[in-house]
C-alpha cells in the first residue's frame, strides 16, 4: 500500500488532497483499516496534507480479482482524472476461520548505513552490536539513547563481494566466524592472529537449524530456512530458490508447499496458536517495498495471523537473533530484519518482536 501511495504522490503534485476509502473486497476490516492508515501515513510523510476539502480528491478502493487484492486509486482533479492500481497480495480467503488470537509485530530501527548489512548481532549486554558487511564487521555501542559506530574490521576475503550476497556472523566465547558466499572467515582470540579467510563449498549455515537436519531434506537450491516446533514435532521450513517454500517433518520429502511468500523467513515464539510462528517476507524483487507477516502452521496449512508490517524497501535479510539459546526466552520472540530503503538507498537494520493478545 505504501508503494501505491508513493506512486500516487508522484502523480498528484499537490500538497493537499481529500481522501475517501472503500473496501470492495473480502479483506477483513481490520486489515483494510491498517492499509488505509499506511496509505495516509505514506502521503503525510511526504508532506501531503489530507483534508476534507481539497482541489485534488483521491478515491482509494481495495478490490479483488480471482486471486489477488488490488489497490485502485482514482485521482480526481477538476480538469481530468487518473487511475493508478497495484496488487496488494494474494487473497486470504473470506471463509477462513478467524484465529482466536492476534499477533502484533513490532519493530525498532537499530541503525542504518550506506554499505550493505548482511547480518546483525546484538550482544547479550544489549549495549554492543556488530554489523556484518560484505567485507567488514562494524561495531556499534549504545551511548545516550542511540547507537554510535565505534570501529570497523576488514575481512581478508579472497574474492570480491557478491552482489546481493548473504552472510552470517557467529560469535563464540573465544572465537568468531563469518560465513560469506563461498568463503569462511575465522578469528581466534587465543592465538591473536587476526582474521583469516578460506574458500569453502559448504552451504551457509542457518541459526537454530542444524546442518545435519537440513542435509537430509530434498530441497534443491534454497535461500532461507527456519526450525520450529508445532504439534509436538520439530519442523523445518525451507524457501527454495524456485520461489516455493517447503515444509519438512521427519522425512526427506516435503509434506506441504507454499508459493505465496518471499525468500526470507525466520521463526519466532509467541506462545499463541501453535506456539511458534514464522515471519515471512512478501513476493517481489528488490525494486519493491516489502512486508513481513506472521504465519501460523497447523495441520500442515499456513494461516496468516498478523497484519502485514510494511517496510520502505525490500527485505534483504531476516535472521534469528544470535542470542537465541535455550535459556534466553526473550530472544525467541525476536528476529532481525534488514531492508534497503528505496528512498534513501541506505540499509536499515530492525529488531522485530512479536506479542500476542488472546
Amino acid at each position: 500500500m505504501r508503494q501505491l501511495a508513493r506512486r500516487v504522490w508522484v502523480s498528484i503534485r499537490a500538497t493537499t488532497v481529500g481522501c475517501e476509502f472503500r473496501n470492495l473486497s473480502s479483506m477483513p476490516s481490520a486489515e483494510f483499516a491498517s492499509l488505509s492508515t499506511a496509505f495516509q501515513e505514506e502521503l503525510q510523510r511526504r508532506g501531503v496534507k489530507i483534508q476534507t476539502e481539497a482541489a485534488v480528491g483521491l478515491v482509494v478502493s481495495v478490490t479483488q480479482n480471482t486471486t489477488e487484492y488490488l489497490g485502485v486509486v482514482q485521482i480526481l482533479r477538476k480538469e481530468n482524472a487518473e487511475t493508478i492500481m497495484d496488487t496488494l497480495g494474494l487473497l486470504k480467503g473470506p471463509a477462513a476461520p478467524e484465529p482466536a488470537f492476534s499477533l502484533a509485530l513490532h519493530r525498532e530501527l537499530l541503525f542504518s548505513q550506506d554499505d550493505p548489512i548482511l547480518d546483525v548481532v546484538l550482544d547479550r549486554d544489549t549495549k554492543h552490536a556488530y554489523v556484518l558487511g560484505t567485507q567488514e564487521i562494524s561495531s556499534y555501542e549504545w551511548r545516550g539513547e542511540q547507537w554510535v559506530p565505534t570501529g570497523s574490521e576488514h575481512l581478508p576475503t579472497h574474492q570480491p563481494a557478491e552482489r546481493g550476497g548473504r552472510g552470517l556472523f557467529a560469535m563464540g566465547i573465544d572465537s568468531q566466524a563469518v560465513y560469506l558466499p563461498g568463503e569462511l572467515c575465522r578469528i581466534s582470540f587465543v592465538d591473536r592472529k587476526g582474521w583469516s579467510c578460506e574458500k569453502t563449498a559448504d552451504h551457509m549455515p542457518v541459526r537454530t537449524v542444524s546442518p545435519e537436519a537440513l542435509a537430509g531434506k530434498k530441497s534443491g537450491a534454497w535461500s532461507s530456512a527456519a526450525q520450529f516446533e508445532t504439534e509436538g514435532k520439530t519442523k523445518i521450513m525451507v524457501t527454495g530458490q524456485d520461489g516455493i517454500a517447503r515444509l519438512y517433518e521427519d522425512g526427506a520429502e516435503p509434506v506441504a508447499v507454499f508459493s505465496n511468500w518471499g525468500s526470507e523467513l525466520a521463526s519466532v515464539y509467541s506462545g499463541c496458536g501453535s506456539g511458534w510462528q514464522l515471519l515471512v517476507t512478501g513476493k517481489g524483487d528488490w525494486t519493491k517495498a516489502d512486508e513481513i507477516q506472521a504465519i501460523d502452521i497447523k495441520d500442515r496449512r499456513a494461516r496468516s495471523v498478523s497484519v502485514s508490517m510494511e517496510f520502505p524497501g525490500p527485505i534483504v535479510a531476516l535472521h534469528t537473533p544470535a542470542t537465541r539459546t535455550a535459556d534466553n526466552a526473550a530472544a525467541n520472540a525476536m528476529a532481525v530484519a534488514v531492508d534497503r530503503n528505496l528512498e534513501t538507498g541506505r540499509y536499515e537494520a530492525y529488531q522485530l518482536s512479536i506479542t500476542c493478545s488472546k
Partner: protein, 519 residues
Amino acid sequence: MRLINSRLLALSSALLLAAVACDASENPRYGGTLRVEVHAASISLDPREWKVGSLESARNEKLGELVFERLLALDNYGRFQPVLATEWSHDGSNKRWRFTIRAGVKFSDGAPLSAEDVVAALQPLLPAALQISASGNAVVIQSAQQMPDLLEQLASGHYLVYRVLAGGALAGTGPFVLGEPQAAGTPSRGPGSHLFFRANEEAWSGRPFVDGIDVTLGVPPLRAMFDLQLGKADLIELSPELVPRARQANLRVWSSEPVMLYGLRFDDAQAAASDVRLREALSLSLDRGTMATVLLQKQAEPAAALLPQWLSGYAFLFNVDTNLERAKELRRTLPANEAAGAEPLRLRVDPSGDLAKLLGERVAVNARQAAILVQVVARPVSHAGATSPAPADPTSGVHLFAWHYSSLSPRAELDSLFAAYNLNEPSEVNATSTADEQLYARERRVLEDRRVLPLIMQAESVGLGANVRDWMPARWGEWRLADVWLETPEPAAADSLNPGNSAAQSSPQPRAAAPGAKP
C-alpha cells in the same frame, strides 16, 4: 460493485441457510444416481472441439469436468490447489514453468498417466506461442513472452487432460466415466437422449459419492423446472426468467457470479456504423438497467465493462449512464439519412433463443427514443438437408453477441474476446503485459472507441432437489459434482421405488475430503 457485494452477501447467506437447513455434522453417504437435466440437445466431450466464449462450450466444459481433470484448480478463496500436478515452479522471468505430474494416476482405461500424456493432451489446446514438453515426470511450458498468469489459464477453460483411445474416443482421469446406464438402474425419462456417467472406482482423488450421473439432454426450461418440483430431477439448468418463479415455489436455487456478457459489436459493413457519433448516441440511449431488471428479472447486471468485476477487479471503474438528451443532441449532428427511415441501422441477433431476441428488440426501442432507427434482423439459419440455399445474410451495421467467460485469467479472457470480435487495440498499449493497470488501459481504450458496447452480464442458475447435499460449486459456475451426495430415503423403501437411487452396498474407496490439498 455494490451490486456484486450484495450478490456475495446473498450467496453467503444462502450458503449459511443451506448449512443450517441440512445437518452440518452429517457424514456424506455413498450411492444413488444424480439426475441432471440440461437444455442443450447435444454435448461434445472433446475439449479440442470447444469454441472459446460460446455458451455451448461452457455447457460442454461442465460435463467434461466430470470425466477429465486439469493440472490444477483454483478454489473459491483464490488459492491454487494441486490436481494432476502436485508441484509447480517457474523461472525468474515467468517464461518457463515446470509442473510435476502426480504419480499413481490412471486413466479410465487403466493406462497410467504420464508427462507425455499431458503433453499430448495440452499441445493442441495451448496457444501456438507456448511450447510444452515432457521432462521426466514433469512437463515444461515455455514461451518467449512472460506468463505470470499461466496458473489461472491452466486452472480453467478447456485445459483438460485426456488420452485418445484407439477409435478416437477419449479417456480421462476424473471422478466419473462416460458409460451405459446400469442395467438395473435409471428409469426412462421420455424422449430426451441421455448421457450416463458412472463413478470411477479407481479415481485417484477417491470414488465420488454418487454411483452415477444421469444427464438428460434437450429438456425445455419449463419442463425441467416441473421435473425438479415433481422430484423427477435432482439438478437442472434454470433459465434466468424462471429463477423468480422457482424461488416463489420454494425450490433451491443457486446462482453463479455473472458469467455471460451480452453486447453489441459494430461492423463497417453498413456506413452508418462507422460514425463514432452514432455509436455514442446509441450507447447513451441504451437503458441497461431495464434490460437487467425487467427483461432478465434481476438475474443480470447492467454491464459497463467487458470483463466482470469478480474477474478483473477493476470493472467498477467503468460506468455508462443513459442520457437520452445527449443522445438526441448527437443524433442531430448526424446526416439526416443516417440510421433513418430509408436505411435503418440493421441489428443482427447472433445468439439463438428468446432472450437474445428480446434484448435486440429492447435496443431498437431505446434507439428509437433517440431518433435512431434500428431494424432487428435474425441471423439466417441454414437447415440441414434443405434443398434450397440459406437466405443471404443482409448486411448489418451492428450485431448482438453473447460471450461466456471461460478463463480465470483476465488477460487471456480479454485476448480471446478481442480476437473473436476483431477489436483492434491502439498500438501504444503494451498488449503483452498482465499488469492490472495495462489491462485496464486496454479495455478502456477499446470501450472508448465504442465499437463494442457491453449491455448486460448474466449469471447462471441451477435448481437443486432437496436431497442434493454438499453442493459446493465454484462461484464462476463449475459444478464440482464429485463432492455431491444424495440424501436418500430408507434403503428398503428406496429400493422398491427407485433402484437407481439405492445406497451402494459395496465398500468404495473413500473420497478425500479435499483432494490434492495436501500434496
